[in-house]
């Protein structure tokens, strides 16, 4: 029950507050954002060359297989006496030193498919059969993700490519944000008197809305409305800040850096989203790989470094993990065009203060190959299961249809 005193208190707040911000006071209890764990997923589209990402630089076989594309011991970012990372991954090296980076090696799935689409579908659906269900693993996680306190949009895709399959198959709680589709209430010409008057009316009426506490439908709807208004305002502020900073630092709005920066701002503003999905295309390096991969990995390195720097300032790094995946790795041996062809078996990164640092599993042998490909030893669904159960508190059996043995890359909580 809303007491008369509460009501008066609210009314006066609304009356003195300029416009919508009056809501924020009310939704502080309604939304309870900012305490759930978060996962940021990066899709490395095109099939990243895992062998030149996590490099067995002491292995003579590596240098034989990669006569023009190899890195020497003094070039790589050292992981240990055998392994190093691509020279572009300087920031990842620092994350490792700070005990915030896990490197999962030899990841794949049975009977690998070398088609981009077939293989990507399996990773995106968390299924390994030839015909996938068409429902993404993150979409399947939505029911459990939505149980978090935020209650807004459990999964958000940041980018202007079409919604990734990982997020498809649920109409609930998945949202794309990009330049063409800003998240805003369109109530007339922005900044016009009419728009202001409409917003004020909406705010006034919401302020005398039904009590938002309780399990009945009406309080539920009122709660969702208040959360929406708050989210819109928050996002507006975030985007305004971001545009200002973009101009200052000269990043392209479509760059990975800006997308991940937006993710960081959304997290630290308590937006309530549990999973963010970002993609970076261009890893299909059949020729001239050195330059392309250098450029792409550098983008990732900078974007991830910025993500955690920003999150650290608010302490939100503690509840955030970042993971990478790609539809497949590439052939062990380079081709004749200073590139590599489609392969299988690759590595994944998981970063954040919540990880147990260092390599997980051994690097796949370079002499014991299958059809010229690295042999995988870790099913990617084990990585998903570990993150779902151990980090996001989502029932991995519901998502993956089966129980998978967990990997040891998360700190005990």
């Amino acid at each position: 029950m809303l007491s008369r005193r509460d009501f008066l208190k609210r009314s006066s707040l609304i009356a003195t507050a300029p416009l919508i911000p009056g809501f924020i006071e009310r939704t502080a209890q309604a939304a309870e954002p900012g305490k759930d764990t978060i996962l940021v997923v990066l899709e490395m589209t095109g099939g990243n060359d895992g062998l030149n990402t996590v490099i067995p630089y002491r292995d003579d076989e590596y240098h034989k297989l990669r006569p023009t594309l190899h890195f020497q011991a003094n070039q790589v970012v050292k992981v240990n006496d055998e392994l190093g990372m691509h020279p572009a991954l300087q920031g990842f090296g620092q994350l490792l030193q700070q005990s915030k980076l896990a490197i999962i090696q030899g990841v794949g799935y049975p009977n690998p498919d070398r088609s981009h689409f077939e293989s990507m579908d399996r990773w995106q659906c968390g299924e390994v059969t030839a015909k996938v269900s068409g429902t993404g693993w993150l979409a399947k996680s939505v029911p459990d993700l939505a149980k978090g306190k935020g209650g807004g949009v459990p999964v958000m895709h940041v980018g202007s490519e079409k919604l990734p399959l990982a997020c498809r198959g649920t109409t609930q709680g998945v949202f794309t944000i990009n330049q063409e589709q800003p998240f805003e209430l369109k109530l007339g010409l922005p900044g016009s008197e009419e728009e202001k008057a409409r917003k004020k009316l909406l705010a006034d009426v919401a302020a005398v809305g039904p009590d938002e506490k309780g399990d009945d439908l009406l309080p539920f709807v009122q709660r969702r409305h208040l959360q929406t208004y708050t989210s819109v305002e928050k996002l507006k502020e975030i985007l305004k800040d971001q545009v200002r900073d973009q101009a200052r630092y000269g990043y392209q709005p479509s760059s990975l850096f800006v997308k991940m920066d937006l993710v960081a701002r959304l997290i630290s503003q308590g937006f309530g989203t549990r999973v963010f999905y970002v993609a970076l295309d261009g890893f299909d390096t059949h020729s001239g790989q050195a330059q392309t991969q250098q450029n792409l990995l550098q983008q990732i390195d900078q974007a991830v470094t910025n993500l955690f720097t920003r999150l650290q300032s608010t302490g939100d790094d503690q509840r955030t993990l970042f993971m990478t995946f790609s539809e497949f790795g590439r052939r062990a041996a380079e081709n004749g065009s200073k590139g590599t062809d489609h392969g299988s078996g690759s590595c994944m990164f998981v970063a954040g203060p919540g990880v147990k640092p260092g390599p997980v599993g051994r690097h796949p042998s370079l002499t014991d190959l299958t059809d010229g490909d690295l042999k995988y030893h870790t099913d990617f669904r084990r990585v998903y299961a570990t993150l779902l159960d151990g980090w996001l508190k989502v029932d991995s059996k519901m998502v993956l249809g089966d129980k998978f043995e967990k990997l040891d890359f998360l700190k005990k909580t």
């Binding site: 029950m1 809303l2 015909k131 269900s133 068409g134 429902t135 979409a139 939505a146 209650g151 807004g152 949009v153 459990p154 498809r168 198959g169 649920t170 109409t171 609930q172 709680g173 949202f175 063409e180 589709q181 998240f183 805003e184 209430l185 369109k186 109530l187 007339g188 009419e194 008057a197 409409r198 009316l201 909406l202 006034d204 009426v205 005398v208 809305g209 039904p210 009590d211 506490k213 309780g214 009945d216 439908l217 009406l218 309080p219 539920f220 709807v221 009122q222 969702r224 409305h225 959360q227 929406t228 989210s231 819109v232 309530g272």
Partner: protein, 486 residues
């Protein structure tokens, strides 16, 4: 104001709840008539609401059932295979899908057979099949016609036809169901989602049923029985043994008492309440009547729509409006031009419906839309608000989703103030009441009313500023939490 919680359904007396409601004089009013039209149709337009109140409960329900029980197939809209997308070189049914979606929305808006359309939507969600996999709008249209034809007819016949429906056969991989490697997809879903529900069959039943359906294939969009791929051997299914084929499986499924219970529960969730768990004992009168009628769908539906229970707090505003209910209802009530006739082009709804989370002919998966509270998250609430604003103001929804379907996707001919103009009402309080009586009869909170009246203020009624403020008030009415509930 928070209301006292409703007692659980197992505390109620089923026969009394399902008995036909006999309203005392004056009890049957606009509030209940609007409730019936929201559930059994897509909302009542102004004249319909007036007629329903005048005619009384019995006559109104009879009118909803008045259409023929089984109607002939409609003329086909899609007569060619999906065109090839020049970008990808692959067949692409996006444009054909838009034609189908718009045509269905237009039928909902027209409201010629609203109850049957509503049930067609129910069955579309029940036998949820998506064009995204079928990728042939012609097949989806055939399935849609099938569901509409049987929507208030025989479930036995509908199940028989659905099991041979080419879109369904594509959707659930029936061509992979061959004697040497039975594919269990259809066999599982026909039990889990179409007739019995989880827990009422074993994995062995699934395997045996899959064998019975082997050879039920489609070829070039037609059902075909491939004898060479059919496993003619004996199967033991739900305790019965024989050389069953698919029709035997369907017969045995309909013999199960659990089937009518399962369907009665889904009808309850659709028509009455989607939040309270309904125990078998409570639903027994509905399920029993359904089974006794040999699965005549009109029987349980009429029982529900006439029941005392349906006209109680257990049903009233106890469902979240589906996106199509929100959009179509709004169009039927206020999407009118100066003459008072509906002027909204259904194509202009496709983009906004996608943003609200519901694309007809494209449910997210075989379970259908999740519905209920899941319809509302911050993104879809935003989409509902923005749609209401565009419609009321006759503005475009010019986001990329809308553009994808139709460049002309705005509502320029809409003038929701037509009612006010025609009746010559100029007093803000009366204007607000007129719209509240149409959109929220019986549910208009005085504190909201006073805000809206104050907003319209005392500008001269023939100014644009005044009209604009009336539209603002109307917009806010459409965004109220109550209005999101059906």
């Amino acid at each position: 104001m928070s209301k006292p919680a409703l007692a659980p359904l197992d505390k109620l007396d089923p026969p009394a709840e399902w008995a036909a409601w006999a309203p005392a004089k004056g009890q049957w009013d606009a509030r209940w008539a609007a409730h019936l039209y929201r559930r059994a149709a897509f909302g009542a337009a102004r004249a319909e609401l007036k007629d329903a109140v005048a005619a009384g409960l019995d006559a109104t329900v009879d009118k909803l059932f008045a259409a023929p029980k089984e109607t002939p197939a409609r003329p086909r809209l899609i007569t060619t295979p999906p065109p090839v997308n020049p970008m990808t070189g692959m067949p692409d049914s996006t444009n054909h899908a838009a034609v189908l979606q718009a045509a269905w929305l237009q039928r909902m808006i027209d409201g010629v057979e609203p109850l049957r359309e509503k049930l067609a939507l129910f069955w579309h969600n029940h036998f949820a099949t998506s064009i995204k996999k079928v990728n042939d709008a012609g097949l989806m249209e055939v399935q849609g016609d099938l569901l509409f034809r049987h929507a208030l007819g025989s479930f036995r016949q509908m199940l028989r036809d659905v099991s041979r429906d080419p879109a369904m056969l594509v959707w659930l991989d029936s061509n992979q169901n061959v004697r040497s490697h039975p594919n269990e997809n259809y066999a599982r879903e026909v039990m889990e989602l179409f007739t019995l529900g989880v827990g009422n069959y074993t994995e062995r039943d699934v395997r045996e049923a899959a064998r019975a359906f082997t050879g039920w294939h489609q070829n070039s969009g037609r059902f075909t029985f491939v004898r060479g791929e059919h496993d003619g051997g004996p199967k033991t299914f739900l305790g019965q043994t024989g050389d069953w084929d698919g029709d035997d499986v369907l017969r045995v499924l309909l013999e199960q008492p659990g089937c009518a219970k399962f369907l009665a529960r889904k009808l309850y969730q659709f028509f009455v309440n989607e939040n309270l768990p309904a125990p078998d004992t409570f639903l027994a009168p509905v399920a029993d009547a359904f089974r006794k009628s040999d699965y005549d769908i009109a029987v349980p539906v009429r029982m529900i729509l006439r029941s005392t229970h349906f006209y109680s707090a257990y049903a009233y505003r106890q469902k979240v409006k589906w996106p199509v209910e929100y959009a179509v209802g709004m169009v039927r009530m206020i999407g009118v031009g100066v003459t008072g006739r509906i002027t909204v082009n259904p194509y202009s709804l496709l983009g906004v419906l996608e943003l609200m989370g519901q694309q007809l002919y494209a449910p997210p998966n075989v379970k259908g839309w999740e519905a209920g509270k899941a319809w509302l998250n911050t993104a879809t609430v935003l989409a509902r608000h923005n749609f209401a604003h565009s419609l009321v103001n006759g503005m475009g929804d010019l986001n990329s989703h809308a553009k994808k379907y139709n460049l002309q996707t705005f509502f320029p001919a809409v003038n929701p103030l037509a009612f006010v103009l025609r009746e010559g009402i100029t007093e803000p309080g009366k204007i607000v009441d007129l719209y509240a009586d149409l959109l929220l009869p019986g549910d208009f909170r005085p504190e909201v009313r006073s805000k809206l009246v104050a907003h319209i203020g005392d500008a001269s009624p023939d100014t644009e500023a005044f009209a604009q403020r009336c539209r603002d008030a109307l917009f806010v009415l459409l965004t109220l939490p109550e209005y999101q509930l059906n």
